[in-house]
């Protein structure tokens, strides 16, 4: 009994993570072999995951590290030397 496309879509995420149960995996794989639509959907989903994981998509702003460590250094110095008394 062939499974429907909709049934395959529900397993795309599990398929990509490699955590489908063996019997489900076999059904999905069999379906993918002959269904061009589901294969295309699987490929495009995988491609989107590869692209969004690329460091260039979410970049740190220029100077981010320098400003962060400067602020931390202020905090550390403030801890070491208590602020001067104000009158």
């Amino acid at each position: 009994m062939a499974i429907e496309c909709k049934h395959v879509w529900a397993h795309i995420s599990g398929y990509l993570d490699g955590n489908l149960a063996p019997d489900v995996l076999e059904e999905v794989q069999k379906h993918l072999e002959h269904c061009e639509i589901c294969s295309a959907i699987l490929d495009s989903t995988r491609n989107i995951l590869v692209l969004t994981a690329d460091d260039r998509v979410f970049e740190l702003p220029l100077g981010f590290s320098e400003r962060l460590h400067a602020r931390l250094e202020e905090e550390i110095e403030g801890m070491e030397a208590p602020p001067p008394a104000v009158d």
Binding site: K6, W9, A10, I12, S13, G14, L16, D17, N19, E36, I37, A40, I41, D43, S44, T45, N47, I48, L49, V50, L51, T52, A53, D54, D55, R56, V57, F58, E59, L60, P61, F64, S65, R67, L68, H69, R71, L72, E73, E75, I76, M79, E80
Partner: protein, 207 residues
Amino acid sequence: MAATTSPRDEAQMIASIIAGDSRLFHELIRPYERKVYVMALSFLRNEADAEDAAQESFLKAFRNLASFRGEAKFGTWLVSITLNEARSRIRRRDTIKMESLDEPPDDYGHTSPALLRDWKEIPSEALERKEISLLLRQAVTALPPIYREVFLLRDVEGLSVNEAAEAIGISIASVKVRLHRARMMLQKNLAPQLKGVAPKRRWFPWP
């Protein structure tokens, strides 16, 4: 992104920092700068707020380091501090039109994927083109918060399903369900838009 420091080195560094060698904290957090910033950015949606929230999260981690018991990984603990910081800023910022952090109605499970025939791969050089990076960033940012956080932790920052569950404070099963929905929503949103990247190919939108 994998941290280059081993957990044992981290534990030793943390012990030294608590014992008084405060400046080691600079070194401890280097592998996590991007992760913390990306989490903050995805929630606050503008760079200046995200940078400020990221700085504040690192400062909170520094001040509370003695309360880190080491039962979680340092990175996971840091991510939960960042999530709390970002969420509380959203609440402060949009008290009226607050983004709901609750589970949206259960209709995302039935999202049909978009069909792009002949689309095996967009070469990663395409990311050199700023508009493609922007497209991807906007699509991730547009996800409902509960899906966005899972997607960022797992698929962008590479945490395991267990680590993501721990950082957010939800079950492993929920992480898997949300991750699936996040990926399907992104696929449906991005696939038709990305056809501009390879215009010579044939594109078939899903009905």
